[in-house]
Symmetry: C2
């Protein structure tokens, strides 16, 4: 009855792929590395977008739209940025096709070669800061608090649905400020917006901190990030917020007249989350029965399945369901009545379970008599029979409970899989088991690199602590300012 699903312990990676494709979230397309986001997956992404968009606007940001194309020369302007971004990307060289003179379909028209190649944006700092130059003259024009929802392309060689695709959807915030302090505060604020979203909407607990210089965004002075732990013990970077200093302002000559009537370069931040969050959502909560969705992001929160033997029974049930449905919808609960007569209840149960719908109601003739309904929750798979009276309030409470339970479960898992490590031997043993390893590091890129080479573990983040405790580096034995989080990561 249920769709075939690989078990997590058998092959975690295949399990993930099965869920994404068989729950109709996404699939690979005819174009290498590019995915099709299917309606059910896109409906979840839309809910993510709506929640994030409101948070951005509540913190004073406005949306805008900048070109898909970036002139090649723009990338050379910021030294670190070009190293990080201008290499693996899609390059537009021509602007016309023509009929093949040999009659074989169409070919590129060599006469229509661009004077300067255009790059499909892998991120938009360059084109945006080139634009900001004309928008900013004095401190009165600042801050500029702008966000863009867009598609970007990074030519990845090994791709995985949602987690790493050549084209992906994201939002990128690009703000401009008169002072360093204000830009730093903005970058930190957005870090908290992201962690708030991850924890309160996705029910995914995240660690907050900064990246080591090695792992920083290309062109950033400081990269703030949130990191989540997946069920296979690997970490996943779920969002980043960058303090860019004056790097892009200098590269694109964006100066302003400050309050002291002097010319100064503008301070910048950028921050983004992407459809990668969809991958984190799937991996954080789902189980061997399929997708598990937090109620706040579930396109369908409650599915109602009728149990009947004949049309008369279905008619009576449908009447009651219409009542229940409008009761629940009046409380803004998203309800679907699955009245298909082509499938049996058992099939429907398995299907909606697989698709992660948080609450299932089943209603049969005996329920009608007794004014009850069978309620099953997706997170615990528990069932109970409830009176229909006040069902709206009961379901609201239940959805809230499921949301909190998913978060708590993920938090317990992370706590169980976070280890303070004080010796290199322990590190080597523990890293094979997965999870976050909280260990001392001497702060050098060399040590970081050696640990990565020997264990595939990277520094996921350096916690922001008021009074960090010193110690000795797990690898080199040299002095360490504080513990940092290591993990293998997606």
């Amino acid at each position: 009855m249920a769709k075939e699903l690989t078990k997590r312990e058998d092959n975690y990676s295949q399990w993930y792929n099965d869920i994404v494709t068989k729950a109709n979230l996404a699939e690979n397309s005819a174009v290498r590395g590019c995915m099709v986001i299917k309606p059910y997956g896109y409906a979840i992404w839309e809910r993510m977008q709506a929640a994030l968009d409101k948070m951005f606007k509540d913190t004073g940001h406005e949306n805008a739209y900048f070109p898909l194309f970036i002139p090649k020369s723009f990338f050379s302007k910021e030294a670190a940025h070009v190293e990080g971004f201008a290499k693996e990307c899609a390059v537009v060289t021509h602007y016309r096709l023509k009929n093949d003179p040999n009659g074989k379909g169409i070919v590129v028209d060599e006469d229509a070669k661009l004077e300067e190649e255009l790059i499909i944006r892998p991120t938009s700092e360059t084109i945006i800061w080139d634009t900001y130059r004309n928008w900013i003259q004095s401190y009165r024009d600042l801050p500029l608090l702008i966000n863009q929802w867009a598609n970007v392309v990074r030519w990845e060689m090994r791709t995985r649905l949602f987690l790493r695709t050549a084209e992906f959807l994201w939002q990128e915030g690009h703000t401009a400020h008169a002072t360093k302090q204000e830009a730093l505060a903005e970058a930190e604020q957005m870090l908290y917006v992201y962690s708030d979203f991850a924890e309160n909407w996705m029910a995914v607990p995240v660690l907050r901190g900064v990246k080591s210089p090695n792992e920083r965004f290309a062109g950033a002075v400081e990269t703030y990030c949130i990191e989540a732990l997946m069920q296979d013990g690997k970490a996943l970077q779920a969002g980043t917020s960058h303090f860019l200093g004056q790097n892009f302002a200098k590269a694109f000559d964006v100066k302003f007249l400050n309050r002291e009537n002097k010319q100064d370069y503008v301070w910048a931040t950028s921050w983004g989350v992407s459809t990668r969050l969809m991958g984190a959502l799937v991996m954080a909560h789902s189980d061997d029965n399929g997708l598990v969705l937090p109620p706040k992001l579930a396109p369908v929160q409650v599915v109602i399945v009728p149990i009947y033997k004949n049309q008369e029974q279905l008619d009576a049930i449908s009447e009651k369901v219409a009542e229940i449905k409008s009761l629940l919808e009046a409380r803004n609960i998203r309800v679907k009545f699955d009245a298909r007569d082509t499938h049996k209840p058992g099939f429907k149960f398995a299907e909606w379970e697989f698709k992660g719908v948080p609450v299932r109601l089943a209603i049969g003739p005996r329920d009608l008599e007794q004014e009850t309904v069978e309620v099953a929750r997706r997170d615990t798979l528990e069932k109970e029979t409830l009176y229909i009276k006040n069902l709206d309030q009961k379901i609201l409470n239940l959805l809230d409970q499921i949301q909190k339970n998913l978060y708590q479960k993920a938090l317990d898992f992370r706590n169980l899989n976070t280890h303070k490590i004080d010796s290199w031997d322990d590190f080597l043993v523990q890293i094979e088991k997965g999870g976050f390893l909280l260990a001392h590091w001497d702060g050098t890129a060399e040590t970081e690199q050696k640990i990565k080479e020997e264990t595939k573990a990277t520094i996921r983040l350096i916690p922001i602590e008021e009074s960090p405790k010193e110690g000795k580096c797990i690898y080199s034995g040299e002095p360490s300012a504080q513990r940092v989080y290591f993990a293998r990561a997606y």
Copy 2:
């Protein structure tokens, strides 16, 4: 005080460009033919998107996302489509850049040449129908009612902000059906969704009809369209809905098992509107004082400007404004209090007038005493003084009135500029004055082409009429089945 704005009668085209750029709707970017949609312009587009998206969902459609790239060979599969679309487009030929060996920035890495070039989608029929092949097996999988919000690229040589740009934003619906009748009904339904949106949200009256074969979408069997009349007497195509027959199903081999248990090709529609609507919105209502926005799409519906001489007065006014603001906001009216102390009221009046805010409230010390407020409406530029009591209801009524007045004004203009023409001489005279010319046509592509060559007028649409009246072609004198709408167009 006001921004410099060219008058319509002096140079309509420059007037349009002034409004778009000086009201901060959009501007040209560093990339040829690509625009930057600025926050104020994007906020209007977001409102359009939200209204349309709801209409699409209310008619049973779901959103999804398909790749930006289309393999070159896909275009050759549908004969008419390739002629119409595969020519002027952006072609990706490489996927990597490298450091210039001569040390001059970065260059395309010739080793990273794609085996098959990728085209940036100018429209997505091909990639979507290639995907649908795997989604559709039987009539039970139909209909597929899918929409996509996306960016597309058509390499236009002559571009104008919003009206014609190389990259633009749009939505494209792509539906699949089991029968011809159902697909036709879908294409017609979406035509009515579009005209409903144009008339009731944009306050732009539109004509509905079908295109002549010559003006059809490349690959369509029938193209339905809505056409609006701009203030300079030129027509603007505001949206199209295509009945595609089985053309794309045949090109991409999309068959299904029908109810009679036989294999058949799937029937298709596609339909879209774009950021071009922003151009129509600007040109339909704006005047020599700047932008005029219909209340339903205005990001700010009511702006409040305080009139004061000292801080004490401002404090007292601000207190009253806070009261008024929350009163209006409780009715979902979008209100902005312009309390900037860097600008005088006159400057603010001109600025908000230029930006098309439908209602302006001004409030000074005398208003405070008398519990009044001065209300100015953008559409008629009329002012009146109103008591603050029940102001929320009065403003709601006023916004409604402005919305209707803008529509009526545009409708009156169109009626005044629509002419039944019965002789070729009259046609030649009238086409110079602009407007819609309702005239008989013999139905041949030759006549259509000749009229276009001699007058630059095209057949904008053929009305769908229950009992069309016959006549004689304005140009050839041959029999004509019905009158059609001619105009010069954007």
